[in-house]
């Protein structure tokens, strides 16, 4: 195992592309700015997801605009010229913040969380947007809104963003006027409306963890129904394909930022669907890059066609296992499939 880890490290500095030359962008999800060094060391070409909850955790009052600005700025400068995708506060579900999260919800994963909380606590939302915008003057920032369920919600976010931008202009505070604005696609309704949503934003970021959870109505932290939580459920594959197709049609980018991307077997499927941008925990980067570099995209298209014709997750898992066994017999045992 250790040998395999060392072997993987040789891939960190190599470019990410398939054996037949399809370019792939592999970025890192991070929870704390400190993780940026590990991400870069592992070959990440940017931060695909900065979770900003760390700013709000383990403290009794929300962070000031200045505190946030400095935190984001330091990271943006460190990662420059690669981009940093900063996601606005995404609490609730399984991430709680003192004084902000409600205590009385019967199903917090379907409650006042994430962007809903930001739109409810507009004062805090504006402070965070100001801090992110100010940091955007120091490198390449992309702004990401989580848990979007429809067009009206995107417009509500963009309206507040426009107001905050106006404020900053009046104050002669610098920010990136061309800041790309994107949304997480992680609720089923966002999948159903992917074509409409694609017209409202600059990019999609697919949160596979929540997407799987909501599509299957399975709490991913509940051991009693864990057997149902499955990234290769046919419904999930169809949803992922719908999102990718809608993004391509609208000419915007769609990246994957859930744990699914870090599984080499799934990353091949995602690539075949058109997801050439993936963001994951740093430790998964070289593993995925190694596989990509040995993979021919034509094989991916054949595989995708095969699994999309299946009606159960069991059949799809068997197809994937067979593909891996054929193409990557040596790696297979390391992945613990």
């Amino acid at each position: 195992y250790e040998f395999y880890q060392q072997h993987l490290q040789t891939f960190c500095a190599l470019p990410a592309c398939t054996a037949d030359g399809v370019k792939v962008t592999l970025q890192a999800n991070i929870e704390l700015p400190d993780e940026a060094d590990i991400a870069l060391k592992n070959g990440a070409t940017g931060i695909g997801l900065l979770r900003t909850e760390f700013m709000y955790m383990a403290r009794s009052t929300p962070p000031s605009e200045q505190d946030q600005f400095e935190g984001y700025k330091a990271l943006v400068e460190k990662i420059h010229p690669s981009p940093v995708t900063i996601r606005t506060l995404d609490v609730g579900g399984d991430k709680f913040v003192q004084d902000l999260s409600l205590q009385d919800e019967a199903n917090p994963a379907m409650g006042l969380r994430s962007i809903r909380l930001s739109l409810h606590e507009k004062h805090l939302f504006r402070i965070q947007l100001r801090a992110i915008l100010r940091a955007s003057a120091y490198g390449r920032v992309r702004l990401l809104f989580p848990m979007i369920s429809g067009v009206a919600e995107v417009r509500a976010c963009r309206k507040i963003l426009a107001e905050v931008m106006d404020e900053l202009r009046k104050e002669h505070v610098a920010f990136d006027e061309n800041l790309p604005v994107g949304i997480m696609i992680e609720t089923p309704s966002a999948v159903f409306l992917a074509d409409l949503l694609a017209r409202e934003v600059d990019f999609f970021s697919v949160g596979t963890n929540d997407l799987i959870q909501y599509c299957l109505a399975v709490d991913r932290s509940n051991e009693h129904v864990a057997y149902l939580y499955d990234p290769c459920h046919p419904a999930i594959l169809r949803a992922l394909k719908t999102i990718s197709d809608a993004a391509r049609q609208a000419g915007i980018s769609a990246s994957i930022c859930g744990e699914m991307a870090a599984e080499p077997m799934y990353s091949l499927v995602l690539l075949a669907m058109g997801y050439t941008d993936m963001s994951m925990n740093s430790c998964g980067l070289s593993r995925v890059k190694k596989i990509m570099r040995q993979w021919h995209s034509a094989d991916g298209h054949a595989l995708l066609e095969q699994i999309l014709s299946r009606s159960t997750a069991t059949q799809i898992a068997a197809d994937l296992r067979q593909t891996v066994l054929r193409h990557f017999p040596d790696d297979m045992q390391e992945w613990e499939i």
Copy 2:
């Protein structure tokens, strides 16, 4: 208001069809067999949904096969020759049963509930299936499995059903050999797989309450996010249309059994989508029938086309309000829209 109620009663005995002759089937959802009389009095032509939870509630041990059989049989005989759709145990979410429901789930609505619990407690599931099958010898029974998320789950249910049927045959116990078997479409994954699921069953029954909740990731009992729970959200309309189209394509029936059907304004939209079968609480039946009898289906198609082109629920609600104002000005104030 009282006058309007009396006025509505005149519709109970009239046939359900549109002004241009499209036949509609209006049935009742009931929680207790006792409600059957009210359903019939209100003009229901069958029970579209018998919730069987009442059998398990307010008692310390699960009901015996004989208890269940007698309860179902009495209802089936009373409703004969109209059909009764019996749904297997659908606990969890907001309905709990002593000793059966788990206490430690963080998000019970996405936990071990409904068909998942039946497939987990197979012994109880078999008892219920035996009781329903035995009752099917005494009238027209349709069997309905709730909370289905994929093809494998349907097959697991049908496998157990086939085993139970075999047992009964061996015991020379009578049951309806042609018992129609259907599933609730109420998880987003079931919508994504509607075409595949339609090949596995005899009918769909769309549970709009849960469908809306899971699609939008909004707990419908949570007041903090109630503003997001909206039957005319564009994502919901698309989902409902996908389901209806898949059923038509496969040549099976699809009925609606959520609260949405009881809202006259929504019932017009559902009808336009092809849902000619609706089941609702008895008190909504005459209201919906009155509207149907004054409605021309061509107007429905125009309305549907219009609202499907909208991107927000606000626009759709405005379209619906305008339609109602034009066609049913007198009824509008009674509906409290």
